[in-house]
């Protein structure tokens, strides 16, 4: 009873902090900055947080956190916009939104896609914030429950999504696995952690730390689209006339509620993955995308994914926001950052004289709740603002290809370059642009590549740490087995579904 009361008090207290003048203003400024950071490809939340640090020296904690978090939590929402409109990932964590969002824009349904992505982002953000708020009491045991073997299993789960994302049929699966394998191999570039051996670096210093995800992802996804755009010779939305796209927005919003439970489930996936340090961003979007495809009931429906199914937009849109709230959990509760952006946020904690850790859940509970409210308020504001401008945003897709192509290309190049400030970034961009083009040409699916790429090195590290720590015993830990079953279910789902379908079709005579 006592804890309930403290929680409610802190909750209200947190809201009140955010509604004071200066914290609110700073939050708005943060939102504005975050809006642009998300929209511009390549510029990441983490880097910008670091650059904003000097500005918070003079602020109080109540002002600084709405500022930093206002910025950071909004980035995921606006990053989806770039993904939908231009096929360029606004952030490394909004790539999955491209797969169905951009085809919709090409069909002239940009408004609908944007409406859906914004609404699902909002729901995801709210879910994530609620998740953070309600799990605060049980957060410590929750995070402590996932040791190295469990992490490895989760990564495996992520990898099994490759099969779901591969397209159907045995041939499709084969191509998907190869794509994933290729991605996996690419993730192994760089200095190996076990012996310090340089793998596949061809004598280039640039490759020591491996291939950076942003140039790879921009090259892989955006460049083929640019080429296709040039080939078609039209604007992104084909020959749809100017001005009509805004109408779709309401449809998009309605879609989010039509598929409400899917959105919630994907938000849950985002939050669960977001809690675990290291996995977060890249993985959450793909697992929820894979889950969204599983909601397709027939093979024909599944074939629709990748061509503009609204559910493919809702899933990742929700997940990449819900993981934000959850990502704060390890940072706040343990002083262990869940991502590079969180690491910078932790720096801010120290700067302001607050030590993240158990104190945040007791002495500074109100502050923690104010962070929750920041996520809520910031996203509501940003989504409202975006919806106002959505007409104009959607109409960007009708601009002639010859005008928009160089701008898009420019954004790609700059976005890639800011990864390492090295010309190597551009070379990687172009090489993977070529790879992406040929993959699309020869019908090799790209999402499995990205999964393999993100998870490859992590899988290797956790496999070794699990084995060194526990010997072979880790295989029989209860959580490991449970996760393995879930992973297997995920992998086999398409085949199970097919069998049930066949069985159903065979049933009619037996009445």
């Amino acid at each position: 009873m006592e804890t309930m009361k403290t929680m409610v008090d802190a909750c209200i207290g947190g809201l009140l902090i955010n509604l004071q003048l200066w914290p609110f203003i700073y939050m708005l400024i943060g939102c504005a900055i975050g809006f642009w950071v998300g929209i511009l490809p390549g510029i990441g939340g983490g880097t910008t947080l670091a650059l904003m640090m000097p500005f918070i020296y003079k602020m109080t904690p109540q002002e600084a956190f709405p500022f930093l978090l206002g910025m950071h939590s909004v980035v995921q929402t606006t990053g989806d916009i770039t993904s939908v409109l231009f096929g360029i990932p606004g952030e490394a964590t909004t790539v999955a939104t491209i797969v169905d969002g951009f085809p919709m824009a090409k069909k002239g349904e940009a408004g609908r896609a944007l409406g859906a992505v914004l609404m699902s982002s909002l729901i995801g953000a709210l879910f994530g914030a609620a998740f953070l708020a309600f799990t605060i009491p049980i957060v410590r045991p929750l995070v402590l429950a996932f040791g190295s073997p469990e992490m490895f299993m989760l990564i495996l789960l992520g990898l099994t999504c490759i099969s779901t994302l591969s397209g159907h049929g045995k041939r499709g699966l084969l191509l998907g696995l190869m794509s994933g394998g290729f991605g996996f191999l690419c993730s192994l570039v760089g200095q190996d952690r076990q012996a310090g051996v340089l793998r596949f670096t061809f004598g280039q210093l640039y490759l020591w730390n491996g291939l950076s995800i942003i140039p790879v992802v921009i090259g892989l996804f955006a460049i083929p689209e640019i080429i296709d755009l040039a080939v078609r010779g039209t604007g992104i939305a084909g020959n749809v006339p100017f001005g009509k796209l805004g109408k779709g927005v309401k449809d998009g919003i309605k879609d989010t509620f039509r598929h409400f439970w899917l959105t919630i489930r994907c938000s849950l996936i985002g939050s669960l993955i977001g809690i675990l340090p290291g996995l977060g961003g890249g993985v959450a979007q793909w697992v929820s995308y894979a889950h969204a495809t599983q909601s397709a009931k027939t093979e024909e429906e599944r074939a629709g994914f990748g061509k503009g199914d609204i559910r493919g937009v809702l899933g990742p849109g929700a997940a990449n926001n819900s993981k934000e709230g959850a990502g704060l959990i390890p940072t706040v509760a343990f002083g262990i950052p869940g991502s590079s952006g969180m690491a910078v946020l932790m720096g801010a904690f120290f700067l302001l004289g607050i030590v993240p850790g158990p104190d945040m859940l007791t002495k500074h509970l109100t502050l923690t709740y104010s962070m929750v409210w920041t996520i809520v308020l910031a996203n509501i504001i940003i989504v409202a603002v975006c919806l106002l401008f959505i007409n104009h945003l959607a109409n960007l897709t009708t601009i002639r290809g010859s005008l928009i192509n160089p701008v898009v290309l420019l954004l790609c190049f700059i976005g890639a370059y800011t990864s390492n400030n090295d010309i190597g970034d551009l070379i990687v961009l172009m090489i993977f642009g070529g790879v992406g083009y040929f993959m699309v040409r020869f019908r090799w699916p790209r999402p499995p590549f990205i999964l393999g790429f993100i998870l490859g090195k992590l899988a290797e590290t956790y496999l070794y740490s699990s084995t060194t720590r526990y010997g072979a015993a880790w295989l029989i830990r209860p959580k490991v087995i449970i996760l393995f079953c879930i992973a297997a279910a995920f992998a086999l789902y398409p085949f199970i579904q097919k069998r049930f379908r066949k069985a159903d079709l065979g049933e009619p005579d037996k009445i």
Binding site: Q191, I336, A343
Partner: protein, 336 residues
């Protein structure tokens, strides 16, 4: 006669005015200029935060009050930045750089990609000492390193960064020469190691004292042993060298620890003129005592200590002038 004296007096005046106005007329070198601090890591990490802290407070200690900016040039364990400062940046005092303190080993072990001689930089100095410690969970029965040595089962020690990470190397040497019975578990990053410590999946880790201080103060871990270089707070810990009788081992441990004295190295390109270097060194020495900087640093959980360039070069020469056989032995455990 009178005329001559008048001319002489006038000439004397002109001379005096001319001589005394020279310092008034000459503006400070750094007036209106911009200094770039090139950091070999991405924003957010320890080296970057130190650079940004300095960028904020240095201007008032440099005559002319130039603007100081931070430029990130990550890659190859900061070798890219190191190469840039050595080969590309101009020796005009407008570019200084900071990189991984382990870089001397890259040169010693003749690692691929080293395009500099670390002793030839114009050294400004180091702004911190970063000593390594082994810290174990407080709920474990080990209170001293001797206790640890007596343990029957292997200790599980977490690490992040692989064999090129200085703190990992610290543990490797303890295993090799001091008889520490431990298994090293590698994690993707420091954050995951700390989580593993919380989860009791690992018993402890090697880390730089400054980064693990918050966890020591929280009571999660306690430091048990350090190496030759020390920081205020851990002076009373035993030193790793005292736990081995192997002479080579002692030297190798001392060598590994030596760069910790140059915890946050700052250099200017080789050939930067001496008077400019004096301005910079002076500024760094002064800023390290600046009360505002110290205040900020404390908030950032950083301790500032200026180590002058002479000291830095002593350390470097110590490392680089080791005999062949020691270097070979060193190379077996230490990689860059």
């Amino acid at each position: 006669m009178k005329r001559q004296i008048l001319c002489l007096i006038i000439a004397f005046f002109i001379l005096t005015v001319f001589v005394s106005s020279k310092p008034l007329l000459a503006a400070p070198y750094y007036e209106g200029k911009l200094i770039n601090i090139v950091v070999g890591y991405s924003p957010g990490g320890g080296y970057d935060r130190m650079a940004r802290l300095l960028a904020k407070h240095l201007p008032k200690h440099i005559p002319g009050k130039p603007t100081v900016l931070v430029q990130n040039m990550p890659g190859a364990g900061s070798l890219i930045a190191a190469n840039h400062i050595y080969n590309i940046a101009k020796p005009d005092g407008l570019t200084i750089g900071t990189f991984n303190r382990g870089v001397p080993f890259a040169q010693l072990l003749k690692a691929e990609g080293v395009k500099f001689d670390i002793t030839k930089y114009s050294w400004v100095g180091s702004t911190a000492v970063e000593a390594a410690v082994l810290a174990l969970r407080t709920d474990l029965p080990y209170k001293t390193f001797d206790d640890v040595l007596k343990s029957k089962s292997p200790l599980m020690i977490g690490s992040a960064g692989g064999p090129s990470d200085s703190n990992t190397q610290f543990i490797i040497l303890l295993k090799e020469f001091a008889g520490l019975n431990a298994k090293m578990i590698d994690y993707p990053a420091s954050a995951e190691v700390m989580l593993a410590v919380e989860q009791k999946e690992v018993d402890g880790r090697g880390a730089s004292y400054s980064s693990i201080k918050p966890f020591i103060e929280r009571g999660l871990v306690r430091p048990l042993i350090r190496s030759r270089v020390s920081e205020p707070g851990i002076e009373n810990l035993p030193v790793d060298e005292n736990f081995t009788t192997n002479i080579k081992g002692k030297t190798i441990m001392a060598m590994r620890s030596a760069p910790e004295k140059i915890g946050r190295p700052y250099v200017a390109p080789p050939g930067t003129p001496a008077d400019i270097m004096n301005i910079l060194r002076d500024a760094f020495a002064k800023v390290a005592k600046d009360p505002e900087l110290i205040e900020d640093a404390k908030k950032n959980m950083m301790t500032i200590e200026y180590v002058p360039s002479g000291e830095c070069l002593k350390v470097l020469n110590y490392i680089l002038n080791q005999p062949e056989d020691i270097v070979k032995e060193f190379g077996k455990y230490i990689k860059f």
